[in-house]
Amino acid sequence: MSDVLQVTDDTFEEEIIKSDIPAMVDFWAEWCGPCKMVSPVVEELAKEYEGKIKIASMDVDGNRQTPGKFGIRNIPTLILFKGGEVTQTIVGAHPKSHLDEELKKLL
């Protein structure tokens, strides 16, 4: 069972924008190879930051509205949120250490 919360256009506002704790959303799609290199890393981070940062992912194929709102035109893209505001956008496949550093800034 994945520790990564799956969000959709319908649940995004409630789960991410109104989240009590900071959040990170991994925007991905089935067609995207590099996304598949990132998802195991995101999965690990979800375990490590459980209860501290909400780690979520959104399939951009089934959900067009949210990616459009954030101007996403490359995937994988990871967006970090705190208090409903975007604090950082990370484009492309980056190693865990880099993501870890960015997540620590949210705490």
Binding site: A29, C32, G33, S39, V41, I72, R73, N74, V91
Partner: protein, 304 residues
């Protein structure tokens, strides 16, 4: 102490891993993300033998990984931060600690080269892309520019016609470098407009790409092309940050080896896209991975 550490799990690394596991060498493979590499940027591989109908990059890598793991190859998700390479000692420093090994194979590949022009860095994620299979679907019915003229550039231009209304292929010479079959295919597509003898000088836009400034290298004439996306396929830079100053590199920065994949440091080998050579393909990477392991076995034998 390991017999062998392999750094990077693309086709070269996974083949080396397969051969090393079957040779029963005490082997550890390190990968900073999950296995794949450049191949995962490819939608469809049709020049790797054994798959007459072609195979997706993801499926091919998945098969390579499973084949190596079937023979008990251990793949760990660790990022290497430093290498200490000498004929006597090889230390791999990772985010999880120090590892020592008798032999090392570098298969850490290469990364798409950037154009290095104004606007490029700023607009990554906002219309500048290095992966057509990832980002092509965001450009449905839009116009895009694609920079390059080699195999990858032409393949991706063809791929983008599935989504984009028009693909402007910007090439600095008057002939494409891509293989003949790909040239024939791309020339036959109405949706592709090839702009010859031309280089991009600036990517225009603040919050998103609005166009690209061009210059004809023969006439010197400049122009502006309004597009919503710019895809860049202008070659690769080798991932050699960890070995600079320790191994001999060629003038483009690729690792120099002999025919047995041996680098300038005894016990350190290199295979795949990171190597100095004339052709970077999956088909060449796998052969080098196998050769490197054979050379490692001989090297380990010589230590006894």
């Amino acid at each position: 102490m390991e017999d062998l550490i392999i750094i990077g799990a693309g086709p070269a690394g996974l083949t080396a891993g397969l051969y090393a596991a079957r040779a029963r060498l005490k082997t550890l493979m390190l990968e900073k993300l999950s296995p794949g590499g450049q191949v995962l940027m490819t939608d469809w591989v049709e020049n790797y033998p054994g798959f007459p109908d072609g195979i997706s990059g993801f499926d091919l890598i998945d098969k390579m990984r499973r084949q190596a793991e079937k023979f008990d190859l251990v793949i760990e998700s660790q990022e290497v931060s430093r290498l200490e390479l000498s004929p006597e000692k090889k230390v791999v420093v990772t985010d999880k600690g120090n590892l020592e090994t008798r032999a090392l194979i570098l298969t850490s590949g290469a990364t798409p080269r950037k154009l290095g022009i104004e606007g490029e860095e700023l607009l990554i994620g906002k219309g500048v892309s290095y992966c057509a299979t990832c980002d092509g679907p965001f450009y449905r019915d839009q116009e895009v520019a694609l920079i390059g003229g080699g195999d990858t550039a032409v393949e991706e231009a063809i791929f983008l016609t599935r989504f984009a209304a028009k693909v402007h292929l910007i090439h600095r010479r008057d002939e494409l470098r891509a293989t003949k079959l790909l040239r024939e295919r791309v020339m036959a597509l109405d949706q592709v407009n090839i702009v010859w003898d031309t280089v991009p000088t600036r990517i225009v836009g603040d919050t998103e790409v609005q166009g690209v400034d061009l210059k004809n290298v023969k006439t010197g004439k400049t122009s502006h092309l309004p597009v919503q996306g710019v895809f860049v396929f202008v070659g690769y830079i080798p991932n050699t940050e960890l070995v600079k100053g320790q191994l001999e590199l060629d003038k483009l920065g690729f690792v120099v080896t002999n025919n047995d994949m041996q680098t300038s440091v005894p016990g350190v080998f290199a295979a795949g896209d990171i190597r100095s050579k004339i052709l970077r393909q999956i088909a060449t990477a796998v052969g080098e991975g196998a050769t490197a392991v054979f050379a490692v076995e001989r090297y380990l034998e010589s230590l006894k």
